[in-house]
């Protein structure tokens, strides 16, 4: 009986690793396998510890591994090294283990396993180095992705240097996700990203850009954002062009025992609450550990972080962050930097050899005076730095940081920027009477006591503010203390969401005339199983009970032509929504078929049918299923892992074009259709409100849907409903066309709750134009994607606008949208550029 009631599914060649065989063929018990179940695991270690002190049964006692005749804990510990699974398989009781064998198609099999996995599954990768071309994504709860170690020799290394799809190496959104014992190398974007999870563990993983520091490397190594209950331990990160370990907009965090080196920031806790950062070794970075709170992200109010027992040593790497990134302001040689964060305790650290500062505490005004968000607090308060060992810091301040030494007469190991305190100038009115005792900055009892300087940087840079705290190197104001913060304790894991409903494949075989209306609960293997079209090989017309529709302005997908049909169950109707997607009844199927037209100059040129995507409304929500058409185009086959297909066409200028068309996997579908709750994108009133040429004549689509009895609640007068103009219709208003294009191509991620909402950039059609739509908005986590530019949109200057730069790129980690296209849409880029250039110019740098 195994201690863990898990099922072992071995996809590799069957390996009866629990037994060796004698010459006569009888199985020989395996050393340490005390319970005889063929596996050495924690059950066996438990059994051996229970027998400690007893005599071995003889020379063949498999528990007496050292052969001294007595069962001892020496035997138990030696058997730990013989366990068949890391930690002796003790850490995930009840999980199903899926072991994947080595092979060229490991990427496909891994992604398939991640898609098909039920909650409580360990997916174990083999040792070796594997070159992956696409992002690994997982959305199921309680999944463990595990390798055989993070070292190059003997471990599991996933190298993404040749990546062509996806924005990061590994991307997980499910709760209680664990990644451990593997390495991720050379991703164009982030190494391992988690978003929106409750329960994140990254353990013994290595993320490395093997070329070392380079501004073209991905921004973040280990990157949980908008997460809760985060544990990052015993890991290594090297070469990130922003932060090696970056925890953003999250709560309840432990970052411990990691080795982070040669990144811009070693560890960064940003816009997060309740964090313990300890026993880490940060060296060779531009800055060792940063604790920031910034106005851009949608979640703010960073506070309650403890930084202790870390070794923060020789962080003197020149800053190699791409221009425009906030970490580009970190002086080379910074040990610890706190920006605009509150209630921080720093103790027991060894901080040495950092050329600019041991500690640097600044307000957000340090990087930008232009703070207009009333809910944002740009001033750091209640910072308590005590009992650290500090030596040889601040001896050669980097660049502008050297000015601090010039102002104060000598370089300072510790510096406090009092901007926003003790002044009544302009924006800086938060603390006109200074910080209170309970808000004080305390730097005390360090050994040796390093020099401490302070002044109001914004006052100095702006010619002096009345009431500003004058430059001083007197340590007395910092001689204070605060109560210690409590340790962070992670919350118990949340229960996984209900397992996916059973897949009743028998419904795919229900016979009958017309559409197979019974099949909607099943993921049928072939598109034809649903009988959506009169001719199974022609998904472009003659839908069985479906209504064809078109959108006012379409999503750009490599010039593919799209044929959309909605199938609403007979007798049921979708409910009209003025701004949101219509509410469709259970049993609805939306089918979208993508074709590549041979010659874009002629509407009637031949079409190659590539894929049909189904969105099916089931009792528990929408499901996305990608079907790829077979070579003879007789049917399409369900392919949850997606794929690529080489396609070619003649463009509008008569020139031949070709690309590897990317068919998304089911997890990619969630990137656009919703990370947590899948919903359709297109069927909104504003996108459907136009005339369409039906077989029965031309009619407004909304009127037609009402007439066909598939829509209820729509206004009688469709003229009162807003309508997005076709992006290429130059007779329409330029702003409306541009905002419509952004709405359809970008807002599915860049809207509240979308995958891109961590950026704070929202591009939905009805949002008034302002900073949240990109106007003078600095990026949050663009990395090299900013292209050295400072703002998403600089009114009047498309050349200075990150939005245009990213749309006009096809480089992974830069291009936007991240998925859905493999080539640039120059006409779309031009539209957005024209819109921005037509705006009244604004100086985004002005306060």
């Amino acid at each position: 009986m195994r201690y863990l009631s898990k099922t072992l599914i071995t996809l590799s060649l069957l390996s009866l690793s629990g037994f060796s065989y004698s010459q006569c063929g009888a199985p020989v018990p395996k050393l340490c396998d005390a319970d005889g179940d063929r596996y050495v695991d924690s059950d066996d270690i438990h059994a051996i510890t229970l027998a400690k002190g007893s005599l071995a049964t003889g020379p063949g006692d498999i528990r007496d591994i050292d052969g001294d005749g007595t069962i001892t804990l020496l035997d138990a510990r030696q058997c730990v090294a013989m366990c068949d699974e890391p930690r002796c398989g003790s850490d995930f009781p009840g999980y199903t283990v899926i072991k994947l064998a080595a092979g060229d198609d490991l990427e496909t099999r891994t992604q398939a396993a991640l898609i098909d996995a039920q909650p409580n599954t360990v997916i174990e990768l083999p040792a070796g180095t594997y070159h992956f071309k696409g992002e690994l994504s997982v959305s199921v709860d309680n999944i463990v992705l595990r390798g055989q170690g993070m070292t190059a020799n003997g471990g599991t290394v996933l190298n993404f240097a040749g990546q062509t799809t996806g924005a990061q190496g590994i991307f997980a959104t499910g709760n209680n996700f664990v990644v451990e014992d593997l390495a991720v190398e050379d991703t164009p974007g982030d190494g391992i990203k988690m978003e929106g999870n409750n329960g994140v563990t990254m353990r013994r993983v290595r993320v490395e850009w093997t070329n070392g520091p380079d501004e073209n490397n991905g921004p973040y190594g280990l990157y949980p954002v908008q997460t809760r209950n985060v544990l990052i331990e015993d890991s290594e990160v090297r070469g990130a062009s922003d932060a090696g370990v970056y925890v953003g907009q999250s709560e309840i965090i432990i970052v411990r025992r990691n080795y982070v080196y040669e990144n811009v920031a070693g560890i960064e806790i940003e816009n997060s609450k309740f964090a313990d950062v300890y026993d880490n070794y940060t060296t060779g970075n531009t800055g060792g550990i940063l604790v920031f709170d910034l106005p851009g992200p949608p979640v703010q109010g960073g506070e309650a972080t403890r930084v202790f027992n870390n070794r923060i040593i020789d962080n003197n790497e020149p800053n190699f962050a791409p221009a425009g990134n906030i970490v580009g302001t970190v002086p080379s040689g910074t040990g610890l930097m706190v920006m605009a964060n509150d209630d921080i305790e720093v103790f027991g650290n060894t901080i040495e050899g950092n050329r600019s500062f041991a500690t640097l505490i600044v307000s957000y005004y340090f990087v930008n005076l232009n703070v207009s968000k009333p809910t944002y607090d740009p001033v750091p308060e209640k910072i308590y730095i005590h009992n650290n060992t500090m030596s040889n810091n601040g001896y050669d301040a980097d660049g502008d940081a050297a000015l601090i030494g010039l102002v104060l007469g000598a370089p300072q190991a510790n510096f406090y920027d009092s901007s926003g305190v003790g002044t009544n100038q302009g924006l800086l009115v938060e603390f006109p009477d200074g910080l209170t005792e309970s808000q004080a900055i305390c730097i005390v009892d360090n050994s040796p006591e390093g020099s401490i300087g302070q002044f109001n940087i914004t006052s100095i840079l702006n010619g002096g503010f009345p009431g500003a705290i004058p430059p001083s190197t007197d340590p007395a104001p910092f001689n204070c203390s605060h109560a210690s913060l409590p340790p962070i304790v992670l919350e118990p894991p949340v229960d996984p969401s209900d397992p996916t409903e059973p897949n009743p494949l028998e419904l795919c075989d229900v016979a009958g005339p017309g559409r197979n209306v019974d099949a909607y609960p099943a993921d049928c293997p072939n598109l034809s199983d649903y009988r959506l079209f009169a001719d199974a090989s022609n998904p472009l017309e003659n839908a069985n009970g479906g209504v064809i529709y078109d959108l006012n302005t379409p999503l750009f997908t490599d010039y593919a032509k799209k044929y959309r049909f909605v199938f609403v169950p007979e007798g049921a109707k979708a409910a009209y929504r003025a701004t949101e997607v219509f509410d469709f009844p259970v049993g609805t199927i939306i089918a979208k078929t993508f074709t590549i037209q041979a010659d874009l100059r002629f509407d009637d040129s031949a079409q190659d049918i590539i894929e049909t995507r189904l969105l099916i409304r089931r009792r528990d929500g929408w499901t996305a299923l990608p079907y790829i058409w077979n070579s003879d185009k007789s049917d399409a086959v369900l392919t949850k892992t997606g794929g690529t297909q080489a396609v070619s066409w003649i463009d509008m200028d008569g020139l031949p074009r070709f690309t590897d068309y990317v068919i998304p996997n089911t997890n990619n579908c969630a990137n656009c259709h919703g990370e947590e709750v899948l919903v359709p994108i297109g069927p909104t009133a504003r996108s459907l409100n136009k005339d369409f040429d039906y077989d029965t004549g031309t009619a407004n689509q909304l009127d037609h849907w009402a007439m066909m009895n598939i829509l209820s609640g729509e206004p009688a007068d469709t003229g009162s409903i807003p309508s997005i103009p076709l992006w290429g219709d130059t007779s329409a208003d330029l702003q409306d066309r541009a905002r419509g294009y952004l709405d359809v191509n970008c807002a599915h991620c860049h809207s509240p709750g979308g995958a891109g909402d961590t950026s704070g950039l929202f591009l939905d059609y009805f949002r008034p134009f302002g900073p949240t739509v990109g106007k003078c908005k600095p990026p949050v986590a663009a990395g090299g994607g900013a292209g050295g530019l400072l703002y998403d949109i600089v009114p009047g200057s498309s050349a200075e606008s990150i939005m245009v730069f990213r749309m006009d790129s096809n480089e992974l980690g830069v291009r936007m949208p991240e998925i859905g296209r493999s080539i640039i849409h120059p006409e779309g880029v031009q539209l957005i550029a024209d819109w921005i250039d037509a705006m009244d110019p604004v100086d985004c740098d002005a306060p």
Partner: protein, 207 residues
């Protein structure tokens, strides 16, 4: 000008001096701390079982231990123990508590880590608490003392499961040095003395 031979001699002297000054590998040691604890009958005392001389975030690390501590059962009763997390967090299934409990005047504490050698190296400083032991003082007269000691046969294993040699720092002692007056009692006593002295003076002056 110094000759080559002189330089060689000088180098040899410097080398020997360096060798003499070089840190000697610290021996692994087990100890019970504090070495002396004051207690009265009815008190509960706590002792830490400490290992020192390990590699401090590098080999040697401790992979397992199995230690019994002897005590006088007529004087002390075992009240409980707790294991620290330096071999892994037992609650997270990183280690197994293999302790045998108390019997016959000895308490056994034992643990096996399930972490890898690298994991242990990252986790362990050179010196740390293995376990904390609590005892109730059953009967300890004023001026009396009782000793606790690590029994022979204690076992330390390194990360590979090989036996680690160690030295025993010696026994710990619990001593009853007699009751110390409580502050309230002390005040009463002082007050009594003062009033006695005042009354004595008054008596003298009146006489």
């Amino acid at each position: 000008m110094p000759t080559l031979q002189t330089l060689k001699r000088l180098s040899a002297v410097i080398l020997l001096a360096c060798i003499a000054q070089a840190p000697v590998a610290q021996a692994t040691m087990l100890s019970l701390q504090p070495g002396e604890t004051l207690a009265n009958t009815g008190d509960t005392v706590s002792l830490d079982l400490i290992v020192s001389g390990l590699g401090a975030f590098s080999p040697d690390s401790l992979g397992a231990f199995d230690i019994s501590v002897a005590y006088d059962a007529a004087v002390l009763s075992f009240a409980g123990y707790s294991l620290e997390n330096f071999l892994g967090n037992i609650g997270l299934s990183e280690a197994i508590d293999a302790s045998g409990g108390a019997s016959g005047g000895a308490v056994n504490v034992a643990e096996v880590s399930l972490l890898s050698a690298v994991g242990l190296n990252n986790l362990q400083p050179g010196e740390f608490v293995l376990a904390s032991l609590s005892f109730n003082v059953l009967s300890l007269g004023v001026g009396a003392a009782t000793e606790l000691s690590i029994q022979q046969g204690a076992l330390l294993a390194d990360a590979a499961g090989s036996r680690l040699q160690f030295t025993d720092a010696g026994s710990a002692t619990i001593v009853n040095r007699g009751s110390i007056p409580l502050p309230g009692t002390l005040l009463l006593l002082l007050g009594s003395l003062l009033s006695w002295r005042v009354s004595h003076r008054l008596t003298k002056s009146c006489s």
